[in-house]
C-alpha cells in the first residue's frame, strides 16, 4: 500500500515534470491474490503487486496519453515526455473539453484492513471448506477466492487531487455432480468478514443445487416464464449498461435508450441507479478523471431517465459530467460501475409457487449482443436450470439458448426479489441485483 501522502507525492512529481500545457495523472496501485480450485483441490494460486501511471498531456486541444508501471524518477520522466511527444504529433481534437476543475468529493468507505491482509492460508482454508462439502456430497467443486487492496489517485494541473483506497473479496464456487448436475454460488464484499461468514453457505448452495440438478432432461425451446436468480438477473443489468447506458452510445444513436428517454418502456417496478457511494457494493467516490460520482437514476419506475456522462460526452450536450469516465486512452465512453436494481418484496419461493409453468435459471453464460437498439441478447443457461410446473421445481433440464430483447423482457416483470445481492462482474466494480420473475422470455435452442 502506498497511502494517500505517498500517492500525492508521486502525482505531484508527475505534474511537476510536465512543463507545458495541461497535464493529468491517474495512479493506481494493487496488491491482489487469487486462489483457484477445481476437482476439489487448489490448482492455481497467484499473487500480484503492481502500480500504474497514466499521464494525459494536453497541448491546446492536442492530447497524448502514455502509460507505465515504472514509478522510478526516470520512469516518471519518460512517461511524461512520451505523453507530451504524442500530443505534439497529432492534430487538434475539437471535441476535447479540457481537464476537469476541482470539485468537492465526499469520501466513501470501502477499505477493510483484514481484507487487505488475507494470507494464502486464509484463502486456502475458505476454499478447503467448500472442497470438503463437495467431497462429502460426491461432487467436484471449482471456483476462485480473490482478495486484494487497490488505491486510485487522480490529479491534474487545474488542482484536482483525489484518492481512494478500497478492498475487494469475491468468492465464486461451482459444483459438478454426476450425470450433468451443476450448481453455482457467489458472494462479493469489500469486507473480509462478510465473505468468510458466507463460505459455508456458498458451498452449501452450490453443492445442493448440483445434486438437485443431476440427470437434466431435454426440453423443447419456446417462450417461458422465468425465475432468474440474481446471478442470471445480473446479466440483464450488465448488458443494458454495456449496450446503452453510456452517453456515448446515446450520442451515436446505437443505444436502447435512444427514442425511449422519458417513456414508459419497462414495468413500473423497475428502477436502476448508479451510486458510487453505495457501501453495499464496491464504493468509488470519483471517476478516472477525478470528477465526483453523482448518484444517477438511469431507469425510474420503468422510465429511462438518461445515461451516465464523462467530461467529453457531457461537454457535447453542455451538461456537467456525472463522474463516470473510464481510464484513458478510452474509446468506449463513460460507464456505470456501481449499478443497483431496486429490490421488490418477493422471495424466490414465492416466485416459484406463483408460476404455473416456467424455468428457474441460476446463471446466464456467454451473452452477446444480437441487436443493440432493443438490447437483443443471445446466451446460454448454465449451472442449474429447472422446469417449474404447478408452483414447484419438477425436474432439471438441459441448458437452453435464449435470444431475447432485454428491454422487452423488463416490460414483463411479475415479481422482484426482496434482496439485492452484491455481485462482482468480470471487469471493474460490483452491482447489486435482486432475483426477477419475468412473464415471457424466449428460448431459441437447446444443447446436448
Amino acid at each position: 500500500m502506498l497511502g494517500e501522502s505517498q500517492a500525492k507525492q508521486i502525482t505531484d512529481r508527475v505534474l511537476a515534470l510536465s512543463k507545458s500545457g495541461q497535464a493529468e495523472v491517474l495512479l493506481w496501485a494493487a496488491d491482489s491474490a487469487l486462489t483457484r480450485f477445481a476437482n476439489n483441490v487448489i490448482h492455481q494460486n497467484v499473487a500480484e503487486t503492481n502500480t500504474g501511471i497514466t499521464v494525459r498531456v494536453a497541448l491546446g486541444r492536442r492530447v497524448g496519453v502514455a502509460l507505465t508501471n515504472d514509478v522510478t524518477d526516470a520512469g516518471l520522466a519518460r512517461v511524461v515526455e512520451r505523453a507530451a511527444e504524442l500530443a505534439k504529433l497529432q492534430p487538434e481534437n475539437p471535441e476535447f473539453p479540457g481537464f476537469p476543475e476541482p470539485q468537492p468529493i465526499a469520501p466513501a468507505r470501502g477499505f477493510d484492513e483484514a481484507a487487505a491482509a488475507v494470507t494464502p492460508e486464509g484463502r486456502a482454508r475458505a476454499v478447503g471448506e467448500i472442497c470438503r462439502q463437495s467431497r462429502e456430497a460426491g461432487t467436484l467443486a471449482a471456483g476462485a477466492f480473490s482478495t486484494g487492496a487497490q488505491e486510485i489517485a487522480v490529479a491534474n494541473s487545474h488542482g484536482v487531487f483525489c484518492y481512494h483506497a478500497g478492498t475487494a473479496c469475491d468468492l465464486q464456487a461451482a459444483a459438478i455432480a454426476e450425470s450433468g448436475g451443476n450448481g453455482y454460488a457467489q458472494v462479493t464484499s469489500w469486507k473480509l468478514n462478510d465473505t468468510l461468514h458466507s463460505v459455508e453457505s456458498v458451498g452449501r448452495e452450490a453443492v445442493a443445487k448440483a445434486v438437485h440438478a443431476r440427470n437434466p432432461q431435454p426440453l423443447e425451446p419456446g417462450v417461458f416464464t422465468v425465475v432468474l436468480e440474481p446471478y442470471a438477473a445480473l446479466d440483464l443489468l450488465d448488458m443494458l449498461n454495456y449496450v446503452g447506458m453510456s452517453a456515448q452510445a446515446v450520442q451515436e444513436e446505437r443505444s436502447w435508450m435512444n427514442d425511449r428517454i422519458g417513456q414508459q418502456v419497462m414495468s413500473p417496478s423497475v428502477t436502476i441507479i448508479d451510486d458510487g457511494h453505495d457501501e453495499a457494493g464496491y464504493p468509488l467516490p470519483f471517476d478516472f478523471e477525478g470528477v465526483p460520482k453523482q448518484k444517477v437514476v438511469l431507469v425510474e419506475n420503468g422510465v429511462p431517465r438518461g445515461p451516465v456522462y464523462d467530461t467529453t460526452t457531457a461537454h457535447k450536450e453542455g451538461k456537467p459530467s456525472t463522474g463516470h469516465a473510464l481510464p484513458p486512452p478510452n474509446t468506449f465512453g463513460p460507464l456505470a460501475l456501481n449499478l443497483v436494481m431496486s429490490p421488490g418484496t418477493a422471495t424466490i419461493e414465492e416466485m416459484i409457487r406463483s408460476t404455473e409453468r416456467g424455468l428457474y435459471i441460476t446463471r446466464f453464460w456467454y451473452t452477446r449482443v444480437v441487436h443493440p437498439r432493443d438490447c437483443v441478447i443471445t446466451g446460454m443457461t448454465r449451472d442449474g436450470t429447472f422446469l417449474i410446473e404447478h408452483g414447484e421445481l419438477t425436474k432439471p433440464v438441459k441448458n437452453l439458448r435464449f435470444t431475447q430483447g432485454y428491454v422487452p423482457a423488463l416490460t414483463q416483470v411479475d415479481l422482484i426479489g426482496h434482496e439485492a445481492r452484491t455481485l462482482a462482474g468480470n471487469d471493474f466494480g460490483a452491482s447489486r441485483v435482486p432475483a426477477l420473475k419475468l412473464r415471457e422470455f424466449s428460448f431459441t435452442g437447446a444443447t446436448q
Binding site: R36, I42, V63, L67, A142, M380, Q448
Partner: protein
C-alpha cells in the same frame, strides 16, 4: 537482469521449491483510434515485471511484481513458495510435469519494418484518409479506424536449465463503419470484425491491408445494410467466409481442445469441453474434408513464437485429420495425464499471470475448391461473413453466430444483400456437414486479439487459418 533471475530461482529452491521458473517481461504498445475525423485516443504504454512460478510440497504457487529490485525478487520468490505450500494443504496428488525440458536460445518475430519507427503522422494520415472515405456514405453515423502495435521482450528461465529470450512484435489495424437509420444499427468492418485484424508482423502488414483502398466500400456496405432485406429463416446450405470461419474454428474447435478445460480447470468460469479424453483418436469431429491443425510456427500468426511460457519449443500438432479427432492443446502437466508430451501451448498474457493452456494458431487446413467454383456449385444457399455476435455453451457444443453481411446464392450466383443473419448448430453436427473447403489461394491466418480465459482474466492473442467453406443443412435465421 541475469542476476535477478538467478536470484529468484535460487531463493525459490532454498525455500523449498522442487521446480521454479521465472519470466521477466517488458511490454510496449502503441494504439491510435480515429473516429469521425478526430483522433479519439492515442496512447503509448510500457509495462514490465516478473513472475515466479514454483512447485513446492507438490503444489503450484505463483507470485509477481513490477518492482525489479533484488530485495523484491527475493520477497516474491519466497512468496511464491509460501503460496505453493498453502495450495498443498488440500492436495490429493503431487503435481507432475514429466521429464525436464531444457531449452536455450533466442527468437525474434521476423519483420520488415519496425512499426514503432514509423512516424506517427503517417499512421494518423492513413487512418484519416480511410475515415473520410467511410463517411462518404450518407447513413454512416460513426466511422472509426485503429492501429495497434505491440513489442514484448521476455526472458524465461527455469531450475531445469532453460533460458530463452524472445521478442514478439504484433501489428494490427481495422476500420468500422456504423450506419444508423430505419430503426437499425448496421456495422461493416475491414479486414476483420471487432476493431482489427492483427498479426505477428511489422508495419508492412498495415501497408498490405490498404485501409484507404477499402474504406469507401466498407462505408457503402454499412449504408446498404440499412436498406437490405432481412435474411430468411430456414434450414439451408451456407458458405461461410474466412474471417467468420476463423472465429467458428476458435470457438468450436480451439477452446474444446484445451486439455485443461477437459480436466475441469476452468469449470467454474470459461467452462469445460465435450471433447473428453476417451474421444481421442476415436471421435468423428467433422466430415472427411475437415482437417484442423494447431501450430506455433506459421509465419505471421498471432500464436507464432519460439517457445511457450514453459520453455517448450514451437511446433505443429494435428488436431483433426479427415474428420477424426486426434490431438489437444497441452501443457507439460496436462499432457502427462494422458501419456503424451506437451505441444507447447502454455501462454501467459503478461508477467503478472501464470501460463495456462491457450490456443496457438488453430486452423482449418485449406481444401481444393476455388471460391467462384464453390459458389457456382451451390444452387440455393446463403453466403455469410464477418462476425457480429458470437455465443457458445460452456461445453462448446451449442453455438449461435450473427454475421455483418449475408448474400443470397441462387443458381450458382451471389445475389441480393441480406441483413441480420444468424446461424446456429451443434459443433460436431456442424463440422460433419462440411462438404467443401476452399484452397490455399483463399486461406488467411486471421488474428483474434481478444480471447478471454482464466481467473484473474487473461486476454490471449491467437491465430486461425481459414478459407471459405460450405456446410449443408444449417439452421439460419433473420434476427
Amino acid at each position: 537482469m541475469k542476476e535477478s533471475i538467478e536470484r529468484a530461482l535460487n531463493v525459490a529452491q532454498l525455500k523449498g521449491a522442487t521446480y521454479a521458473d521465472v519470466r521477466l517481461v517488458h511490454h510496449e504498445d502503441e494504439s491510435i483510434n480515429v473516429k469521425n475525423g478526430v483522433v479519439e485516443a492515442l496512447g503509448h504504454g510500457e509495462d514490465q515485471g516478473f513472475g515466479v512460478r514454483v512447485i513446492a510440497d507438490g503444489a503450484w504457487g505463483f507470485a509477481s511484481s513490477a518492482v525489479l529490485t533484488i530485495a523484491e525478487v527475493e520477497r516474491v520468490a519466497a512468496l511464491a513458495v509460501h503460496i505453493a505450500k498453502a495450495s498443498a494443504l488440500f492436495k490429493t496428488e503431487e503435481v507432475d510435469i514429466g521429464p525436464p525440458v531444457v531449452s536455450r536460445g533466442e527468437y525474434h518475430t521476423p519483420i520488415a519494418t519496425d512499426p514503432f519507427l514509423v512516424p506517427l503522422e503517417r499512421k494518423i494520415e492513413t487512418l484519416f484518409k480511410a475515415d473520410a472515405l467511410m463517411r462518404k456514405a450518407t447513413g454512416v453515423k460513426v466511422a472509426s479506424g485503429s492501429m495497434t502495435f505491440i513489442r514484448e521482450r521476455k526472458t524465461f528461465a527455469s531450475t531445469e536449465g532453460s533460458w530463452v529470450e524472445q521478442e514478439i512484435v504484433e501489428s494490427g489495424c481495422g476500420l468500422t463503419a456504423t450506419a444508423v437509420g430505419e430503426g437499425e444499427v448496421q456495422v461493416r468492418s475491414y479486414p476483420n470484425a471487432f476493431g482489427r485484424h492483427q498479426m505477428t508482423r511489422g508495419y508492412e502488414f498495415i501497408d498490405e491491408m490498404d485501409l484507404p483502398g477499402n474504406a469507401e466500400r466498407v462505408g457503402a456496405e454499412a449504408d446498404a445494410l440499412l436498406h437490405a432485406d432481412k435474411c430468411p429463416s430456414g434450414v439451408m446450405t451456407v458458405i461461410i467466409g474466412g474471417p467468420q470461419l476463423a472465429l467458428q474454428v476458435h470457438e468450436s474447435c480451439g477452446h474444446p481442445i484445451e486439455l485443461d478445460r477437459v480436466f475441469g480447470s476452468e469449470a467454474s468460469y470459461a467452462g469445460t469441453s465435450f471433447l473428453t479424453t476417451e474421444k481421442l483418436d476415436t471421435f468423428h469431429y467433422g466430415s472427411p474434408v475437415v482437417n484442423l491443425t494447431a501450430d506455433s510456427i506459421t509465419p505471421g500468426g498471432l500464436g507464432t513464437f519460439g517457445w511457450d511460457d514453459e520453455g517448450v519449443p514451437a511446433q505443429s500438432t494435428p488436431i483433426v485429420r479427415e474428420g477424426l479427432f486426434m490431438g489437444y492443446l497441452m501443457s507439460r502437466e496436462t499432457a502427462r495425464k494422458i501419456g503424451r508430451t506437451s505441444n507447447g501451448c502454455m501462454r501467459a498474457s503478461g508477467w503478472n499471470r501464470i501460463p495456462i493452456v491457450r490456443m496457438v494458431n488453430v486452423g482449418l487446413e485449406p481444401g481444393t475448391w476455388k471460391l467462384e467454383d464453390l459458389i457456382a456449385d451451390t444452387d440455393d444457399g446463403i453466403y455469410l461473413d464477418m462476425n457480429r455476435s458470437w455465443s457458445i455453451d460452456d461445453r462448446r457444443l451449442n453455438f449461435q453466430f450473427g454475421t455483418e453481411v449475408a448474400y443470397e446464392i441462387k443458381g450458382g450466383k451471389l445475389g441480393r444483400l441480406l441483413k441480420n443473419a444468424i446461424y446456429t448448430g451443434i459443433t460436431p453436427e456442424f463440422w460433419g456437414s462440411c462438404d467443401a473447403v476452399c484452397n490455399r489461394d483463399h486461406w488467411v491466418v486471421w488474428g483474434t486479439p481478444n480471447c478471454g480465459k482464466g481467473q484473474p482474466m487473461q486476454v490471449a492473442h491467437t491465430g486461425h487459418g481459414a478459407a471459405p467453406a460450405r456446410f449443408r443443412n444449417i439452421q439460419v435465421r433473420g434476427a
